[in-house]
């Protein structure tokens, strides 16, 4: 049996756990053609995967309290030639990666998982914090006839950095001691792709347009990072919040009506679209 570890990284709320939930549903349900297929439950604890997949099927957002902390989850898969593959993923809260940028520290346990050779980098395509400048902000305020926010200066904090800067630094840290393990494959997973679809850009074009610093970085560092860019809608739309009394989302109700939940999943690369979340795994482990 082949053993593979893939580290899933991304800032808080970037869709890492939702991906794992959708992937676990997809392979255990076995109702779609996929590059990799479910083999067996095997040893180990599947409780976490079962719990997050259940929430996903219910079209409810993942409970950040329940998914906080560092967990290792494993899936026993088989490829098209019958070879068994055991893939291990850490399900780590995004705050751990934010801490590497903000506090310049990495938990020992997280550091061990980051030494996995290959990486899936998650970016929520609808919550990208772009760099914005005072001059542009003031000009926009004047055009809109709203007050200029003067006299409320906010001191610098690393968390105010644009999304692309934090992600570039995360990749730089993965390429520097003590986390450096040489050349790696990376899939950039642009989550909530259904929100980005109106832009009518391919995932690679979206990356270049919305995260140009990260796009340049990957283009110039092919010796270290072999990259593919995917657009991923693992939910298919907005899910209901889990808090008591939260307003139900019409889109969640519509998604529940689908006879096969696996069809909620959309994975896009260039002009090719599928439901197969195992395709990036197959490429990354090749």
């Amino acid at each position: 049996m082949g053993e593979h570890s893939i580290v899933i990284v991304g800032l808080p709320g970037s869709g890492k756990t939702t991906f794992l939930a959708a992937l676990w549903h997809l392979i255990t349900e076995h109702d779609m053609d996929t590059v990799l297929q479910f083999e067996k439950l095997g040893d180990g604890d599947s409780a976490h995967l079962n719990a997050i997949a259940a929430r996903w099927r219910d079209a409810k957002v993942q409970d950040r309290t329940a998914t906080s902390g560092n967990r290792l989850v494993s899936m026993n898969l088989v490829d098209t030639t019958g070879n068994s593959i055991r893939v291990t993923f850490p399900d780590t809260a995004g705050e751990a990666y934010g801490r590497m940028w903000e506090d310049r520290e990495c938990d020992v346990a997280v550091a061990e998982t980051l030494k996995a050779s290959n990486v899936m980098l998650f970016v929520h395509s609808n919550t990208i914090q772009p760099p914005m400048w005072v001059v542009d902000d003031v000009a926009l305020s004047r055009r809109m006839g709203v007050p200029v926010p003067e006299g409320q200066a906010v001191p610098w904090h690393p968390k105010l950095a644009p999304t692309q800067v934090q992600l570039v630094e995360l990749l730089q840290l993965l390429g520097s001691p003590p986390l450096d393990v040489g050349q790696r494959r990376i899939t950039v997973m642009l989550s909530a792709w259904d929100k980005a679809a109106p832009e009518e850009l391919s995932p690679a074009e979206f990356l270049a347009a919305k995260l140009p610093l990260l796009s340049q970085f990957l283009r110039r560092n092919t010796a270290r990072w072999t990259a593919r860019v995917y657009g991923l809608s693992a939910q298919g739309g907005d899910y209901d919040a889990i808090e008591t009394g939260a307003v139900a989302k019409p889109q969640a109700a519509e998604l529940r009506k689908l006879d096969r939940p696996s069809t909620r999943i959309r994975l896009v690369r260039d002009s090719v679209e599928s439901h197969d979340l195992t395709e990036p795994l197959g490429w990354i482990m090749a």
Binding site: R104, E105, D107, P131, W133, D137, Q216, F217, R220, N221
Partner: protein, 336 residues
């Protein structure tokens, strides 16, 4: 900390030489500096208290030793940015970095940076997240020169090179006019591939201040040459900053003529000192939208990254080993 002289002056900041120079590297009064009087070990213990994490690279500016290591590692350009206080040195550095936020600059891609966190810090007060009404850039504090790093490239990946930008407080360059001996501490000048002298556009607009500005720049260059820091026939860029203010002023034509005259004077006066004299006009961080942010910087970047002519070989014993500006070369040799 004690002023009695019987107790060694200590500082928990390893970059600070307050014990030797009497000056805080942060430019603070000693009574206000949080590191003054604390031992480095105390600071380490304080930082580690309650932490079980692994330290990551700092992402801050580079020391002389770190810059020297980078220069040895591969193709690189070291740029010394010179100018009086408030000429716009940090704005230029921040403005260049911020241009890469939107895409390639002059055909060059961003390939990485060891100073990413500090770039973000100096850019903050020009960013909307600061919630300021006008962009602001903090002055460089007095102290040892610091270096910012950008790795950039165009064409093939193996063509990437390190751009290392030296940043030193304007007061220190200005002090060279009064005492040439301080030039011995300007490590960034002696190794520079290109010097970049900033001419403050706002001061040039001031009919009274322009004469002193011109004099300061000429005198700073003279001090650097007399102090022995400029020996390797570097190229020099003379850069008019704050072009947005110049463009809006009724004094625009006169100021631009003054600038052209200053460039001509430098080219004629120091014709044997520099391999090339080039002039640029920039608006690194305009205070309004009359010019795009970073206007003129792409041309300056192209100048910085162009190939430098071979350096003339200087006698090995030309500079006393104790001179601080020899440290960069010495550190490089030590890395071999």
């Amino acid at each position: 900390m004690s002023d009695s002289g019987s107790t060694a002056i200590v500082c928990s900041n390893p970059d600070c030489r307050v014990g030797d120079t009497g000056k805080c590297v942060e430019g603070l009064e000693t009574s206000k500096c949080p590191h003054y009087g604390r031992t480095p070990q105390a600071m380490v213990e304080s930082a580690n208290k309650g932490s079980d994490g692994i330290a990551m690279p700092s992402g801050g500016t580079l020391s002389i030793a770190e810059a020297a290591k980078l220069l040895r590692a591969g193709e690189a350009r070291l740029i010394a940015i010179i100018g009086p206080t408030d000429a716009g040195k940090t704005s230029l550095i921040a403005g260049l970095y911020d241009l890469f936020q939107n895409g390639s600059v002059a055909g060059f891609d961003f390939a990485g940076s060891l100073s990413l966190r500090e770039f973000e810090h100096i850019c903050h007060d020009a960013r909307a997240a600061s919630r300021r009404g006008t962009p602001h850039i903090n002055r460089t504090p007095r102290g040892e020169v610091k270096f910012y790093h950008l790795h950039v490239g165009s064409g093939e990946a193996h063509d990437d090179l390190a751009l290392v930008l030296g940043d030193r407080a304007g007061e220190e360059y200005r002090s060279a006019m009064d005492d040439v001996s301080v030039v011995a501490g300007f490590a960034e000048i002696v190794r520079a591939d290109a010097l970049t002298v900033l001419v403050d556009g706002e001061r040039l607009l001031d009919i009274g201040a322009r004469h002193n500005l011109r004099s300061e720049i000429i005198m700073i260059l003279r001090a650097l040459i007399e102090g022995g820091a400029i020996t390797s026939l570097p190229r020099i860029a003379v850069v008019l900053t704050k072009l947005d203010l110049v463009r809006q002023s009724p004094e625009q034509e006169r100021a631009l003529a003054d600038f052209a005259n200053l460039v001509e004077t430098i080219a004629q006066t120091y014709s044997g000192t520099f391999a090339e004299v080039a002039s640029f006009t920039i608006a690194a961080s305009p205070k309004n939208d009359i010019l795009p942010r970073g206007a003129g910087i792409p041309d300056l970047l192209t100048f910085w990254l162009s190939k430098t002519p071979p350096r003339p070989t200087a006698p090995a014993d030309r500079l006393p080993a104790s001179r601080v500006f020899a440290r960069l070369d010495a550190l490089e040799k030590a890395e071999v």
